[in-house]
């Protein structure tokens, strides 16, 4: 099935209907009748998108400037969703399975509270990637979020399981209040990475300024980093060989919490 944006919404469009779970087995006409919210007004999917074909195998492609379209792939559990262009906030929120690929940039709250599946963003992502919503202590529960470009603040806030990889730089408070899980940032970490982290692993190939509540343990060559980086290379990341085997500093923290988290920073030579 192919959805093409024909009318750019004036205010954010909440389009939970754009999700393989909802579209699978529907004819194009039926799909166009699915409800969406344009601001506080109820509208039809067909009011904004032209729908072609069917999603028999669960593959849906969406194209156009979707930067004002929110909640695409909300609660998705199966199928493939390909977005050609930019996309708005809450992409793949509470996603449980399947795969989403975005060729452009994504808004805030990518993969909020997701528990399975994979989201790949070829461009940049906004703030709150794989994050908990305000008030809830736990964020991402599983799955993978792969961002080829940069990401905003609070990547992996409250994360409990899964993998978040950022090809470029990340914003402030990366991995804040992490419970567990892995965040890899190929570029630079913003301010105060890992603040309040309980457990979990934060990896960066660039130097970073850490909070005083993180303590230096050792410099070593953890084999898990090689495994993770080779995996990311297969997913299309550019990973230089020196990062695969190179020495990493291990910092443990956050000591105002359980002190069982770790930040691994590349400490070898650079070319």
């Amino acid at each position: 099935m192919r959805l093409t944006l024909h009318a750019v919404p004036e205010v954010p469009l909440e389009a939970e209907a754009i999700c393989p779970d909802m579209l699978m087995g529907l004819s194009a006409d039926k799909a166009a009748e699915l409800p969406v919210f344009h601001g506080n007004e109820k509208a039809r999917l067909g009011d904004f998108f032209s729908v072609q074909g069917e999603a028999r195998d669960g593959t849906v492609t969406v194209e156009g400037d979707l930067s004002k379209v929110k909640l695409i792939g909300n609660g998705m559990s199966t199928g493939r969703l390909r977005i050609e262009g930019d996309v708005g906030a809450h992409l793949g929120a509470e996603m449980r399975g399947g795969e989403i690929v975005v060729t452009g940039n994504a808004g805030d709250w990518v993969g909020r509270e997701m528990s399975g599946g994979r989201i790949t963003i070829r461009g940049d992502a906004g703030h709150m990637v794989g994050c908990a919503v305000r008030g809830v202590p736990v964020g991402m529960l599983g799955g993978e979020i792969i961002v080829h470009g940069n990401a905003g603040n609070e990547v992996g806030h409250g994360m409990r399981r899964g993998l978040i990889a950022i090809g470029g730089d990340s914003g402030d408070f990366t991995g804040v209040s992490m419970k567990a899980g892995t965040v890899v940032v190929m570029g630079r970490l913003g301010m105060r990475p890992g603040a309040g982290m309980v457990r979990g692993t934060l990896i960066s190939t660039q130097p970073a300024e850490l909070l005083p509540t993180f303590n230096y343990d050792t410099t070593y060559r953890p084999p898990i980093i090689r495994t993770i980086l080779i995996y990311l290379r297969k997913l299309g990341f550019t990973v230089e060989d020196l990062y695969l085997n190179g020495p990493y500093q291990r910092w443990s923290g956050d000591s105002i919490e359980l002190n069982k988290g770790e930040i691994l920073l590349y400490a070898g030579t650079r070319q």
Binding site: V133, R134, G135, V136, P137
Partner: protein, 549 residues
Amino acid sequence: MGSELKIINGRVYDPINDIDGEIRDVCIRDGKIVESVADDAKVIDAAGKVVMPGGVDMHCHIAGHKVNLARKFQPEDHRHDVQPRVGALRSGTGGTVPSTFTTGYRYATLGYTTAMEAAVPPMGARHTLEELHDTPVVDKGFYLLLANNVCLNQLLEQGRHAEFRDAVAWWLNKSKAYAIKLVNPGGDEPWKGRKNSNVHDLDQPISGFDLTPRKIIKALIDVSNDLGLPHPAHIHCNNLGHSGNYATTLETMKTADGRRAHITHIQFHSYGGEVGKNPTSAARQIVDYINEHPNISADVGQVMFGKATIMTADAPLTWLLRNMSKDKWINADTECESGCGIIPFSYQEHVYTHAIQWAIGLELFLLSKDPWRMVLSTDHPNGGSFENYPRLIRLLMDKPFRDEQAKRANPKAIANTSLLDIDREFTMREIVIVTRAGPARLLGLENKGHLGVGADADITIYDEMEDKEAMFNAARYVIKGGELFIDNHEFRFDHEGSVYHVSPSYNPEIERVLKPFFEDYYSVQFENYPVSDHYIARGVTVPTGQSQP
């Protein structure tokens, strides 16, 4: 209005007028219950249904700044419980601390038509009245926190009893309150002064004053009786939640010395055992005392398993609980008047303490010989949301259901109580007493809680069902002030409800005493402090009676 309504064929329960399940008619004109109405009056056929007065919740936390803080810091509690806009009704959010409009609608859905906000510092009166204005359907009022008031404490320690009485009356007048509330009397001063400090004995001196909690309790019980307030001093005792606190509760009740006093959420104050160790049940000791002392009344403050929000003026208590949960916590200080603590909470069946709290609450209900003086509350939202009331009613009315629930809870805790040995099941009449007639009588609301001629036409009609939880979960009809608010399970119109307050007389000379204190210690100008009348456009001044013995 001028509308007339007649409810026919219903099984009527009205304990105040000694009507116990008779099939009879109820006639309504102009918002009141009358002897008869014209033949062309609108008729509701209540055949197969139960007719009773609207519910009266005498202790809940539904408005004011602590309630609003609790709403704001728990977005996670609201997000999956949205109240949609229906017809003329407003949208809102639910959870353990619903938004104002939702609070009113959901009380009404359960058949409740009166709810009293139980703890407001005088400084918060304006905020509370504004929220109560937006809490539809129910009639309401609030209790004024006065047991940690620095100015009153000073008058008391100097032995200026007449001025103390006038100052209390002034405060009740100027904040449009309904009754006097005591929370952890004397505990705020040590708490505010030193880290993690509190008073633990009624005769322990309070730092900063030549006073003890007992003196404050005695003084406020005396004043509320002397002023002839419709509801006596409403007391949250010291040592809430601590093992062995039943002794403090007994001492507090003895301090009343035969005069009327109301002990609130008494379940939280009925624990045996040693401080710092697991509590045991002291429900028997507490109930025995209350059974023998008609001057004392209580509401239970039942704990229900599931999500709750602890919000109280007892700030040191929330600090204690916060250290167990390690979750978010709000602590606030209201100038010279009160403290406040809020934390999210969850009562879990497998936890010993939670299970014994649950069982002690039920013991208190079931061991009490006088349901008029041991009425129903969950201290909403502290022991659980008021939306748990139907389940609580079923626990009281249905012994097999109760035992089945008890078997799921921590067995060690249940074995430490007499719950499984109690066979009593509440009758419908007793349920009407603990949810309606009893609280109305304790509050001194003469036109509420019954269906006699002249009473307010606040009436609920439930389908008669075997499963009492399902029955009380949604009233088929709710009549508020003579108008059908819920008609066959559908919301019909929006109704604002009235604010009940008292206006005891006082010597105006007291302002000469109070003003200098305000100028020295308050951030609010004395002249700006009193709440003006337009805050209670729909106010009802309940007359203060003769001084009580």
